[in-house]
């Protein structure tokens, strides 16, 4: 009976949890209908870059889609590189898994014992013998993890640097506009006649 209550309780908790978007820093206001007064010379690409922000969810997405953060930061070339490298990592890992299954050997076998097949083994300082497949699998795992963190950290830094440049540009122009108008920013009223 207790178990049934625990299950029902758990079910209701899950129901409420499902309604929430997983986000450590939730948005406190609805900015979907917040229209900005932007300079008319602003490009669509610049506007997109300013609207974007790298959040926890993007980090999670980057696990599934290699290069996701770079793609979001508008760095397509780097994104495709990361995608390729991650796929190579997965391919290496799969190859090692399939080969070890076929041979009936466990993964990561670093041992001082004699191996039956000497061609698959590399001697390290004459004492340790490391399987070639273990090197490939270690490299593959390193590539997978490294590309993930590079994507997240470098991608975020790239996006922020782009946003800084765009903000700097328009802020500088506003400053210059003010300077040119002798430091006075006042709404001007004019009359124009068109024929």
């Amino acid at each position: 009976m207790k178990r049934v209550f625990v299950l029902i309780f758990g079910f209701f908790i899950l129901l409420t949890a499902k309604a929430q978007d997983f986000d450590v820093y939730p948005r406190t206001k609805d900015d979907m209908m917040n229209f900005d007064h932007m300079p008319s010379s602003m490009q669509l690409n610049e506007y997109r870059m300013l609207q974007r922000n790298i959040r926890i969810q993007d980090g999670l997405n980057a696990i599934l889609v290699p290069g996701y953060v770079h793609f979001k930061a508008g760095e397509k070339k780097a994104g495709y590189w990361l995608l390729g490298l991650r796929l190579a990592g997965y391919a290496g890992l799969s190859a090692v898994y399939v080969s070890s299954k076929a041979k009936g050997e466990p993964l990561f076998q670093i041992n001082p014992l004699d191996k039956p097949d000497e061609s698959d083994v590399i001697n390290v300082t004459g004492q340790w013998k490391v399987d070639k497949s273990d090197i490939i699998s270690t490299l593959s795992i390193t590539v997978i993890i490294a590309t993930y963190f590079y994507d997240w950290i470098h991608g975020k830094a790239k996006l922020e640097s782009k946003q800084e440049l765009i903000r700097y540009k328009y802020n500088m122009k506003m400053g210059l506009e003010k300077e040119i108008k002798n430091g006075r920013i006042v709404p001007a009223v004019g009359v124009s006649v068109k024929f």
């Binding site: 007064h37 300079p39 008319s40 010379s41 490009q43 690409n45 610049e46 640097s161 782009k162 440049l165 765009i166 700097y168 540009k169 328009y170 500088m172 122009k173 506003m174 210059l176 506009e177 300077e179 040119i180 920013i185 709404p187 001007a188 009223v189």
Partner: protein, 269 residues
């Protein structure tokens, strides 16, 4: 009270538009500043704005020191980023539309940009000698033919905009320009265009039917045109071009390719 509220609302609404558009003077001051500092990343971010404003200046009538200086600075920005064809284009436009002491004094930048595009001294000198015409229309033509003579991939979208603007302003464009636009639309490479464009006549006859154009290029243009139209579902036009293509004289491989294309036209896939 109502009046005061009304004035306040008006002032508030007016102030929203304050930064809606920066003046040309501000844009010039900004581009001069970043060019002199040599901040490449900032130059890169500002270039879309600079190109847009420079094109607007070329397409608008009237003269002015700000315009001539702005085009010159835009050329410097492109030069600093290694976009020599665009640098040369804006220097040419500056010389044609806003001639001044600035445009005469930029000989070094003009020649360096042209040499970086692998042009020979005689061609560069010919480009430098291009002088403004008496009418704006002629100036557009001069700018187009001078810039097109560089045969750079970079300039294709810029020249397309220029041709379309000329068409919208004056109603029509010369046939040779129309041919160029067609060849650009079917994605014919500029290095291929370099080999025969001077032989293209200023007539309504399509390029693939003009006898002075080498047969090799006529075939290539016809093939690309068929592919272009088929991709867009214009099977009738593709079919009519394929009839002309057949008349040029095909080798067995080309004949087989045409047969496949005809089958695709027939069944529309």
């Amino acid at each position: 009270m109502k009046r005061i509220v009304g004035i306040l609302v008006f002032l508030a609404v007016s102030s929203f538009g304050l930064f809606a558009q920066f003046s040309d003077t501000t844009e010039l001051a900004f581009i001069q500043r970043i060019n002199s500092r040599g901040e490449v990343s900032l130059i890169e971010v500002n270039l879309p704005n600079a190109d847009e404003l420079s094109d607007a200046m070329i397409m608008s009538e009237g003269n002015g020191k700000i315009k001539t200086l702005y085009l010159y600075e835009t050329a410097i920005s492109h030069y600093m980023l290694g976009e020599y064809a665009k640098a040369l284009y804006y220097l040419l436009a500056d010389r044609l539309f806003f001639p001044s002491s600035v445009t005469e004094g930029c000989k070094g930048l003009f020649f360096n940009s042209a040499f970086a595009l692998n042009l020979d001294s005689a061609s560069v000198e010919r480009l430098w000698q291009v002088r403004p015409a008496s009418t704006l229309k002629e100036n557009y033509d001069k700018l187009f033919y001078a810039a097109e003579g560089v045969y750079s991939k970079e300039l294709v979208p810029v020249l397309k905009r220029l041709v379309l603007f000329r068409a919208s302003k004056y109603g029509s464009v010369p046939y040779k320009m129309q041919h160029w636009l067609f060849l650009a639309d079917i994605h014919l490479k500029q290095r291929q265009l370099r080999k025969f464009y001077d032989k293209v006549y200023d007539t309504a006859v399509p390029v693939y039917l003009q006898n002075d154009v080498p047969v090799k290029f006529r075939k290539k243009i016809a093939r690309k045109a068929i592919k272009f139209y088929m991709k867009r579902g214009a099977y009738r036009e593709a079919c009519s071009i394929s009839k002309h293509y057949k008349k040029i004289g095909l080798n067995p491989v080309q004949a087989f390719g045409l047969m496949m294309k005809k089958i695709r036209c027939k069944f529309k896939f």
